[in-house]
């Protein structure tokens, strides 16, 4: 399994020289299976750049196929959709698995449709996509198959709402994506259910939006600090922890400091064995 980061930023894209090293695009991660199946997680602005890369492959000829896992529908996780070139090529096939409120794929489709409303987008409607674009409600609990990979999802608290976390498995290897997760009781240890979901993962990508001191005046926004992420990684005995969804105001130097503080926290709390990998736009990790 290969995991590549196309957007690692939270809330709103953050262009500028001081975000060059980690990147300023919002959430988008690709997962490629050993047999070449493609899963895309979240559709932040990073999706445009993934799409432009895919156009050089079978997607440019209308012969591409991918599943998209959507954690939730806040702007920073869907804004790239209208700029994803492969959806404008007939023949390409996409299945979007996302949080269907009340389990309804129709409601999820309505939400994505609302993004394309003519007041906001020149595309006017999803129906103007040329590719097949099927919207499905991701079933929580029971695993499902996508592009030859086994996916399990779990609903996590995210401020006043929830976001889905995904566990993706292939041949005994596992990758967990848990962005935009924030325990209502901020600073409390991770819940046993969350720990169970992350258990023994080869790679846990976890929300690390904040330093703990920044979270103090940004309560209940539904994000985690690097301490929350490290505590979850230690409790679940994961092998690698990936930091992700950096605050839009953090410069590269700030993120360096966050990553280094996370390393120290892991070391001081029994997580010395855990490898720490900061997510950076354009970089790839292999499991």
């Amino acid at each position: 399994m290969k995991i590549r980061f196309w957007g690692v930023r939270g809330s709103i894209p953050a262009p500028g020289p001081d975000t060059n090293r980690y990147g300023g695009n919002t959430s988008c991660v690709s997962v490629t299976s050993d047999s070449g199946g493609l899963i895309i997680i979240d559709m932040g602005t990073g999706l445009m750049h993934l799409g432009n890369t895919l156009m050089g492959r079978e997607f440019g000829k209308g012969q591409g196929k991918a599943s998209i896992l959507l954690s939730h529908t806040h702007w920073d996780h869907i804004q790239g959709l209208g700029f994803f070139a492969p959806v404008f090529i007939g023949g390409n096939q996409f299945a979007v698995w996302g949080p269907g409120p009340y389990g309804s794929a129709e409601m999820l489709e309505d939400i994505l449709e609302g993004q394309m409303d003519p007041n906001f987008s020149p595309l006017q409607t999803l129906k103007n996509f040329s590719a097949t674009f099927e919207v499905k409600a991701a079933p929580c609990g029971a695993p499902f198959q996508a592009e030859g990979l086994t996916v399990t999802c779990r609903e996590h608290p995210h401020g006043a709402t929830t976001a889905l976390a995904f566990r993706i498995e292939e041949g005994g290897k596992s990758f967990v994506y848990a962005s935009d997760v924030g325990q209502p009781d901020e600073g409390a240890p991770p819940t046993p259910e969350a720990v169970e979901f992350y258990r023994g993962a080869d790679v846990l990508l976890h929300d690390t939006t904040y330093f703990p001191h920044n979270q103090l005046n940004r309560r209940n926004r539904g994000f985690s600090t690097y301490e929350d992420a490290a505590a979850a990684a230690i409790a679940a005995k994961v092998k690698r922890l990936v930091t992700f969804h950096y605050d839009q105001d953090y410069t590269d130097d700030d993120v360096d400091a966050l990553v280094s503080a996370c390393r120290s926290w892991l070391d001081a709390h029994g997580g010395k064995e855990i490898e720490l990998v900061p997510a950076r736009e354009g970089e790839e990790i292999t499991i």
Partner: protein
């Protein structure tokens, strides 16, 4: 007054090394009269940083007053609004002007800022917010500034604004296609229309009227900011996207006798080096034709003083 650029990009923000010099934020321009609060044109992602700067002034204490003129409500022109810090401070007065739509302007902005798209609803932003609907041709005043507007050739309709204050004038003309080949409105155009097919007399007349409106709005302006997302060749591929190119902007600037023309709303994938090249190329064109105006290209942080300081 001073005109300062906070976001110069079209369509979608583009962080990355290749946009460091011109900037990757979407459209946002601040017009700052000598003795009044800012008149902001468009609320793209550039608005976030402007908001932070404003919070160092009266806005921090809830005593600030700003107006935002919106060309149209496509994402790249409104996305910064929920990240505009002064909106969250009670006491600040923020007036938002945009063209009348099918539903009330406040409903359009409420739809942008609510579950399941955004965690904070408009009603939880504590500034005193007022929405003012305008139509092309409407004239109004903000403080001592005189504002007028005219319609542009863009899907679902955008409008251009002229702001006159402190003895100077700035015209913001984004987003628009040229007024020659195709009339854009409410219809979704699935494929690039042929540029060789003759237009109906009605369409030709409507486009000509629109163009006359723009020339009139920009007449003798000290600064004309113009949508030049495309090169001429790119425009021919996508005449239905509602964006223009430097040759068209130069023709408008020449006819309206402006003093400075500013290229704006750069294509998302246009690198800094490509933008440099376009500017150099068209400076030669302007020089060769003895045009009287200066040609500049907008970048984040560019500040242009006009009139009384």
């Amino acid at each position: 007054m001073k005109v300062r650029f906070w976001g110069v990009r079209g369509s979608i923000p583009v962080p990355g090394r290749s946009t460091n010099r011109y900037g990757g934020n979407t459209s946002c321009v601040e017009v700052r009269p000598k003795n009044a609060g800012p008149i902001i044109i468009d609320a793209g992602t550039g608005l976030r940083r402007l908001g932070k700067t404003l919070m160092e002034e009266a806005f921090k204490d809830g005593k600030g007053k700003a107006s935002i003129l919106i060309s149209h409500t496509h994402w790249d022109h409104v996305q910064g609004l929920p990240f505009f810090s002064p909106m969250y401070r009670a006491g600040n007065e923020i007036e938002i002007y945009a063209r009348q739509r099918d539903m009330h302007l406040e409903a359009v902005f409420s739809a942008q800022n609510r579950a399941p798209y955004f965690p904070v609803p408009l009603s939880a932003m504590h500034a005193d917010m007022r929405f003012r609907e305008v139509l092309e041709g409407t004239k109004f005043e903000i403080g001592g500034a005189k504002i007028s507007c005219t319609r542009l050739n863009h899907p679902w309709i955008a409008i251009a604004y002229r702001v006159e204050v402190d003895g100077a004038s700035v015209v913001y003309c984004s987003d628009t296609a040229p007024f020659a080949d195709y009339l854009l409105g409410r219809e979704f155009v699935t494929q690039a229309p042929s540029l060789d097919e003759p237009l109906s007399p009605e369409t030709t007349a409507e486009l000509a009227q629109m163009r006359a409106g723009v020339i009139n709005l920009a007449k003798n302006a000290d600064l004309l900011i113009y949508d030049t997302q495309f090169t001429k060749e790119e425009y021919r591929q996508r005449p239905h996207w509602g964006h223009s190119h430097p040759d068209d902007a130069i023709a408008i600037a020449r006819e309206a006798k402006v003093k400075t023309l500013c290229l704006f709303h750069h294509a998302p994938l246009r690198s800094d080096d490509e933008n440099d090249k376009i500017l150099a190329q068209y400076r030669e064109v302007v020089a060769a034709q003895n045009d009287k105006f200066d040609l500049v290209s907008a970048y984040e942080g560019l500040e242009i003083p006009l009139g009384d300081q």
